[in-house]
Amino acid sequence: MIGYILRRLVALALTLLAAALVIFIVLEILPGDPAAVTLGLNASPEALAALHAEMGLDKPAVLRFLIWLGGLATGDLGLSYTYRVPVAQLIAERMAVTLPLALMAIGLAMVIGIPLGMLAASRHGRLADAGVMAFAQAGLAIPNFWFGLLLVLVFAVGLGWLPAGGFPGWQAGFGTALKALLMPALALALPQAAIIARLTRSAVLDTLQEDFVRTARAKGLSEGVTMRRHALRNALIPVVTILGLQFSVLIAGAIIIENVFALPGLGRLVFQAIAQHDLIVVKDLVMLFAGLAILINFAVELLYGLIDPRLRQS
């Protein structure tokens, strides 16, 4: 097991290195000069040269790649071309929005999706089942940015209950900050909730056919306890898997949702950095997302072992 994890870690490091090289080369051959973007249409050659030196763009590419790698290894992500502050600081600031947003969305998706899935499974073939399935269809079909706009129209413009967008910052108070994240999290959660509901339903239906469930029923356990303790636990495996797989979808969704709600999160930072040619930020963020995706897959596999005793033996 230890050896297996070590081997996995080495492979992971190599994957990350390869990813770093690819990302660097792709951004290197992209036309466009970050200094020119900063200084605009009237820039003098002297000012451009000065800014090149300030940004370290006057060094050869190989050297810049090595400096970047060295920085990544030591946690120094460099200075943003646009903002002229450490990229690590920018990412930390944005994480404070995106992470709670993503967690809230996942939480909402589970709170909505799992009970609905179970309800559909226990009422298999009846009206409630059809209702849940219809909801899931709609949740998957509705684009979440459109749903987000709809929420804004109803709750912000129409009723004035919630802010239409933006993020006052955690210093404005926990409740205020949470309120600003509620609608975006809901918009982000909708398709996930639909997927989870469908998955829970089919997984519960599958496990209800299993031998151990029949045993549990034979032992005289009530239907509810059987559901919770046996069927649901096993049904959760595919749900956890899909949550891991949905990570990149969640990030992509966050980019769109953060733009709809003007939230200062990582998604919006990527979007802005690409538009403004802030290549250092783009490089660092793409690396971060790649690393996160790989680590989450790793974590999902470990979680399997916790949920399913059969997987622990291997």
Binding site: L30, P31, G32, D33, A36, V37, T38, L39, G40, L41, N42, A43, S44, E46, A47, A50, L51, E54, T82, Y83, R84, V85, E93, V111, I112, I114, P115, L116, M118, L119, S122, L149, A156, V157, G160, W161, L162, P163, A164, G165, G166, P168, G169, G175, L182, G224, V225, M227, R228, N259, V260, F261, A262, L263, P264, R268, L269, Q272, A275, Q276
Partner: protein, 496 residues
């Protein structure tokens, strides 16, 4: 049954969330929240070209010797008066007494000298170095006087001093102005949550009139729908220049809001590569000019009337002449001219478009109009950095659409190797003459000639002036309608 109980718990949560205690915040009468489309990359207007930097900092945090008012006229600011000597190259500024920087540093002649010398230092990244290029000497005979000597008479020297690139900064704080700006303006920097908002507070030590507002927040939202929603929900009190022209009728109908359509210094042009065949032929460029139905283009982009232009000049300037009639819309004449130029069946070319929606939208219509006279322009969308690299720097283009937002920038047509590749010695001589002609009436007459020359030569397709769509709470007074300079002076805002 448990499943039902769990479901109820879920439903209960959702219900709770919907019924969060709603605190209706009464609009405190001494604060304002202003939205603008783009976030400034840094807060130092002397080391970057981004217009967004000027919009938030100029006349709020930082001040120059002179300032531009909403009518485009120069007003005294950190210089309370000035005299130009008979030699036309010596400027004597009498400085404001009792002005201080936000960190308590007193404002004196030393900082003026420091700021202008810093702008032309070898490591300076000031985007408008040429403003300071004519300076040969800065003398400070006493703390309240600055005497600046120029190489030659420079007509627009004072005008340039009202720009963000020429604000006065202090030696102790200048290096940190990018992230912690310290100026002499009526508002001081409080906090910047990057990607969302910038907070400013009234500066109690301000030398001038005390502003009505104690606190101001700039919020940055680039998404057009988000801008409209924030205005309608009352999250923001105003937007300086809305990106959603299609929402104007709906916002105009809202009694809580007032909408004004103003003008800017942004000439939107169909940039043309004058050095590349067939665009080096005057008749081809004239044909294109006759094919451009400006009114239709502007209506297609905005849905309402905006100022149309026939040359590279903004109606906000007193020297403006309307030259839209130089080559009126006339497809038949355009075709005839193309035939005379040797293209009876038209030709094919590319139209490279940068990201702004005005460029993408007008690009579609321009391509359709050109198709009417047999010119098949294939659209190539580009990201801005690629546009800068390929079109602007390498001149690898046929046609493009872009707005030149710098005020009074007609002199770009006199630059060697500028991307239009318009090489006209006569025009260059005219610009050189304007640069040294100080009397205003004389200079404006020369500007008129310059505008006519560019219009006649059909150097570019001249389309329209970027509008400034200001949307504000009906009770908020003082927003600028026009943008002779892209600024949002908070000291001029008050609640009714």
């Amino acid at each position: 049954m448990t499943t039902r109980r769990e479901l109820l718990a879920g439903a209960g949560l959702a219900a709770l969330a919907a019924q969060l205690p709603v605190v209706a915040l009464a609009q405190a009468k001494d604060s304002v929240t202003i939205a603008q489309t783009l976030e400034p990359p840094t807060l130092d207007p002397t080391s970057g070209a981004a217009q967004a930097i000027r919009e938030v900092t100029l006349q709020n945090i930082f001040e120059g010797l002179v300032k531009m008012d909403r009518a485009g006229k120069l007003q005294p600011c950190l210089a309370e008066s000035w005299e130009i000597a008979a030699d036309n190259v010596t400027y004597r500024f009498k400085l404001r007494q009792g002005a201080t920087f936000h960190d308590g540093t007193p404002f004196t002649a030393e900082q003026v000298k420091f700021s202008f010398e810093r702008a032309v230092a070898p490591d300076s990244t000031n985007a408008q170095r040429q403003l300071f290029a004519p300076i040969v000497e800065i003398a400070t005979p006493d703390p309240a006087t600055v005497v600046i000597k120029l190489k030659q008479p420079t007509a627009n020297f004072l005008y340039g001093l009202s720009w963000g690139d020429a604000v006065i900064v202090a030696p102790a704080s200048a290096a940190n102005n990018k992230t912690n700006p310290v100026g002499t303006g009526p508002f001081k920097f409080v906090r910047w949550n990057r990607g969302d908002r910038l907070e400013l507070a009234r500066f109690d030590g301000y030398w001038g009139e005390k502003p009505a507002l104690a606190k101001a927040i700039f919020r940055f939202m680039s998404d057009p729908q988000a801008q409209v929603a924030a205005l309608r929900a009352g999250d923001v009190d105003a937007h300086t220049n809305l990106s959603a022209p299609e929402a104007v009728p709906q916002l105009k109908a809202d009694p809580k809001l007032k909408v004004t359509i103003g003008r800017t210094e942004g000439e939107t042009i169909l940039a043309t590569n004058n050095a590349k065949p067939p665009f080096d032929k005057l008749k081809v460029r004239q044909a294109i000019a006759h094919a451009l139905d400006r009114k239709t283009i502007a209506l297609g982009v905005y849905g309402f009337d905006v100022s149309l232009i026939g040359s590279h000049f903004s109606p906000l300037h007193p020297a403006y002449v309307d030259l839209t009639g130089t080559y009126p819309y006339d497809p038949a004449k355009a075709k005839a001219l193309l035939a005379e130029a040797g293209f009876p069946n038209g030709f094919s070319c590319t139209l490279k478009l940068p990201p702004p929606s005005y460029a993408r939208r007008s690009g579609e219509i321009v391509a359709a109009l050109l198709a009417q006279i047999g010119i098949n322009a294939s659209i190539e969308p580009l990201e801005f950095p690629q546009w800068l690299e390929r079109v602007f720097r390498n001149k690898d283009y046929d046609l493009s659409i872009i707005a030149h937002t710098e005020p009074l920038d007609i002199d770009i047509y006199a630059r060697d190797d500028y991307y239009f590749q318009y090489r006209n010695p006569e025009f260059k001589a005219l610009m050189a003459k304007i640069a040294v002609t100080l009397p205003e009436a004389e200079r404006n007459a020369l500007y008129k000639q310059a505008q006519e020359m560019l219009a006649r030569d059909a150097v570019n397709g001249f389309l329209f002036i970027l509008p400034k769509i200001t949307v504000a709470n009906a009770a908020l007074d003082g927003m600028w309608t026009d943008w002779p300079l892209p600024v949002t002076p908070l000291a001029e805002l008050r609640w009714r």
